[in-house]
Each structure stands twice: as C-alpha cells, then as structure tokens.
Amino acid sequence: MATVELKDVRKVYAGRVEAVKGVSISIPDGAMCVLVGPSGCGKSTLLRMIAGLEEITEGTVSIGGEVVNTRGPAERDIAMVFQNYALYPHMKVYDNMAYGLRNRGMDKAEIDRRVREAAATLGLADFLERKPRELSGGQRQRVAMGRAIVRSPKAFLFDEPLSNLDAKLRGQMRIEIKNLQKSLGVTSVYVTHDQVEAMTLADTLVVMNQGRAEQIDTPLAVYERPASIFVAGFIGSPAMNLLPAKGTQNGLALAAGGTVNPKETALPAPGRDVLLGIRPEHMTLVNDATAADLELKVTAVETLGADTLAHGYPLSSNGRSEPLIARLPGSVRVKDGDVLPLAVQPGMAHIFDAATGLRI
C-alpha cells in the first residue's frame, strides 16, 4: 500500500513520436485512479511506464515515496492485470497464482495459504486444478485478479481488464473490481476507454488526449465542469451538444441563428467566439416557444424506454448547422418533424473558448 506519484512524465519513441507529453498525477494511498481516453491517447503507455514495462523518457514515477524510474518491473512491487489476462496457458490456476510468489522464494505453506485465500475471495476455489483454457472469460479475469492479489503489492495496475468480456459480465466484474479494490485498499491505476467504467470506478479520473492529461478530477467534477471541449465531448453519452456562438450584450448569438441566454451562466465578453455546450440530458421540454432557449427540429427519434433521445438540429439553422440531441423522459412522445421548444436547465450550460477549446 502506497501512494503513486507521476511528475512530468514524458515518453518519446525512437526520438520522434511523443506518446506522453508531460503528465503529473498524484494518487493518494488506497485510491483508484482511472485513466480514460480514446485509443492512442497514451494512457496505456503511461500505465506501462508505471509498471516498468516501458522506459521513462523524462520525469519521475514514485511508488510509496520512492522514485522507481530505474527499477525493473519485478522490483517495483506492483501487480498488473492485462487486457488479455496474460495467464500462463500451460499452468494450472493454482500455479498461475503461485508463480509470482515462488519466484520470490516464499515459503510453500505461506504460498498455499495465500493462493487458497485469494481463490476463496474470488470464488475460484473449485477451479484451482484447471488450466486457463478450461475456464470462461469471467473466470480467467478472476484468475488474473487473483494473481495480483496474492502478492499484496503496493499498487494494482489494470490495463483495460474488462474489454474482452461481454456487456453483462463486464458490468458485474466492474462492481466486483470496485468492491475488491475498496476492501483491499490497494492503490490502483486503471486504464480504460469505456467512460462508464471510468465514471463508476474512479476516485480520481484522468481524461487523456494526445499524450496530455486534459483534466484530473473526481468523476462528478469532470462531468459537471469539463475543462475542455475534448473532455466535454468524451465524457457523457450521448455526447454534449456543442454549438458555435458569439458573445453579445444580451446573450449568445448562435452561428446557426437565434440568441440563447442560458440562466445562471457567466456570459463571455461581447464579440468573443465560443462554443456553447449543453448536455442532452440538461434540456427540458417547455410549453411554448417564448419560454424556450432553443427549438429542436426533430429528424430522428430513439426510444430507449426510460428515455427518449430526440436527434435533430436547431430550428433557426434550417438544417445547415450542428446536430442537436435532447434526452427527454421516456413518457414524452416525439416523432420526426416535430419542433420541440427546449429550455436549458439553470447553470447547466458550458461555455468554451472557440480558439483554445478551454472552459471559460
């Protein structure tokens, strides 16, 4: 158990490709830090640098207060769960879990105790004599977890551990991992491209884009106050609506036409080019056009049961502009061609600078 600290960590491949461009993260003892981002954003590279599988070009990685840059993966006292589980196919489940302990010269009785304890925790007690190929995906995932737990390392590293599982199992394992991590209290770094996993698992959420940490915060803060257009578009489903606009004396003039004046929102200086961000779920259907901030011309409807997603464009734009999506209660009946008067919930509008993409 330990803190994990990254300071200005950079990774340059072959002297040219900069995969990670200076990331600093501080993870307190026992916390779960989730790195999320699209593929190629450098999140896996960052994790592998913490593990010692990739060399660190610049900056420092500390585990438990000690800089571990020059240490090999075995000397960092971490355990990693891989996307493809990386179970040793020729070894039984028992040996898979015991392998790391045997390599460290642990006493046989102690190894046995730890393996059986971990197997009991993970519900694997009946499978210890099986080979990995005789197990289901979820069971293999558990063995990979077990291999990490038995070592009681300073930190767990997860590299997209659930992406090979089907949706139902993924949801179940997500909860299991969260509970396990909490009960063991081991500092963890978890890499995923799935925002649901990111939101539900993280104590600290790091949204990465093109080798940079765009935002480091609690999941809710990231959702409520995204620091940039990228974060705004990445977290949340369906993605946040982003409408080009310009600041004026009495509101925001949309490029699509019309003026919006969202309540409880600090307006940008007149003449400044901005993007107005509104989450689909933060728009409410109102009775008439006068009370509306926006009017949505519906072109497609997705009925999800609990919710109804109305896809379309701002009526004023005549279809030329940005698409607009509203998430409405499932009870609302909408059909193609409808015009919906929508109000932005107070304080739920986000304004980003059009040039820098940063939150204003």
Binding site: G52, P73, N84, Y88, H90, G100, N103, R147
Partner: protein, 294 residues
Amino acid sequence: MSPRVVFPNKVLPYLLLLPQLAITIVFFYWPASQALYQSVLREDPFGLKSTFVGFANFRRVLSQPSYIDSVQTTAIFSVSVAFIAMVIALLLAVMADKIIRGRGFYRTLMIWPYAVAPAIAGMLWLFMFNPTMGSFAYMLRSAGIQWDPLLNGPQAMALVIAAAAWKQISYNFLFFVAGLQAIPKTLIEAAAIDGAGETKRFWTIIFPLLAPTTFFLLVINTTYAFFDTFGIIHAVTGGGPGKATETLVYKVYNDGFVNLNFGDSAAQSVILMIIVILLTAFQFRYVERKVHYG
C-alpha cells in the same frame, strides 16, 4: 457446412492433377513397388535369373553385424544432428527475437543456408575441413588436434553431423522464430512483473509454450537426418572411413548400387519405408492434433 466448389468441367480437374500424379507414380509408387518385389527375390551372381526366396533377404539383412552397426551409426548421427540443429536454431531464434532494428535482415541471412543443395553444403564443409587444404583443418591442427577425418571415424562422423546440422538450422530457426512470435508479449511481461528473470522466464514460460513447435521439429529433424542427408554424406565421406558414417540410407545405396546386391538392398529399403511410414503416422497423430493454448 463448408460450401463445396463444384467444377462444371468433368475432365479438367483430372488433367490438372495429372502432372503431380505422374511424378508420384514414376518416382515413388513404381520404385517402391520394385523395391517390394526385389526384396523377396535373390539374383544369381551373373544377374541371369532371380529366384523367389520369401523373407530370406530380410532375415539375412537383420542378422548382419554390419546392418546392426549401421543402425547404431544412424542413431548416433540422427540424434546428434537433430539435437545440435535444434539447440543452435533455438538459441539463434531467441537472440533474433530480441533484435528490433534490422530483424528482417538478420532473419534473411539466417534462412539462406536452407537454399544450399545438400551436396554443395557437404562440399563446403569438406573443403573447410579438408586435412590438406582446409582452413579450419589448419586451425584445428595448430590447436593441437590430430585432425584427419579421412582415417579417423569419429572425426568423420563429427564432420558429417556438423554439415548436416548446419543445413537444417535455417529451417528450425524459421519455425522457432514463428513459435516465439506466437507467444503473447503480455505473457512475458506478466512473468517479468511476477519476478521471473530472463533465464527463469525462458525455462518456465517460453520453452513450455514452444513445446508444440519443438515436438514438430523433432519429428521433422529426425526424418531429415534419417533420409535427406544422403547428399551430404556422399559428398563428405562416402560412408567412410570404413563404414564409420554409413547410415541406413547410405547402406541401401552402397549395397544396391555399388555392390549390386539388389535383394539385400531392396529388403533394407523396405525396412526404411516402414520406418518412414511409422514416423509420418506418429507425426500426424501428435503434431496434427492442434495444441490449443489460452
């Protein structure tokens, strides 16, 4: 159900198969049936008439001390060739697997010896180790070794083993490289995190996972050493000195085509045929049974 391709033309498929069939019939079925036929005949010393003798040829061959010697020679030769060729190839493959820059270049270089004809490979080694003009023979002598493969049986054996193994290394190398590439990198990384050093990783993870490849190569190499090394032995030692490097295949040739004892030679080749059939059956039985990992 996999869909079957149906050719509307009834004659064309047979025409397309014909060249291969012709080659197989002319170069395998015909000589093989001849050998079977000859193996139960005995020819008189002048080659004027043959008489049916049943299994007498087989009994005679199997009771000959020289045949038992040849079996022994073949065993030593084959085991050594297979072992040396595989160990060196594995070593090279493991090293080549670590190279990142120019790996294609190294691999190509490693594969070239496979393209050398057996007789040429034999000549190459014969020249290098020729007692009168070979540069390696000179080096061996200056190192104080009495190098004379023309008279010294074990030395001649070492020479043909080296030549035969050298030629097979490329083939083994290719398969080992492919086998190594098939091992997921994450397994190696997981083992590294689990605290296994490089040597330990090799013996506990890589080598067991290479087992299917190793087994396949063992069968292939044994078959190679048994049957495909005639050219090398013929070029380097001609089975000599004495009978020191006379393997079973070489003895078939010697007894049949040099000593013109067709009955014995045919009986020997039938025995060899049975060995090949057994080896192939063994190979299909165990190698074709696909090994599933993960």
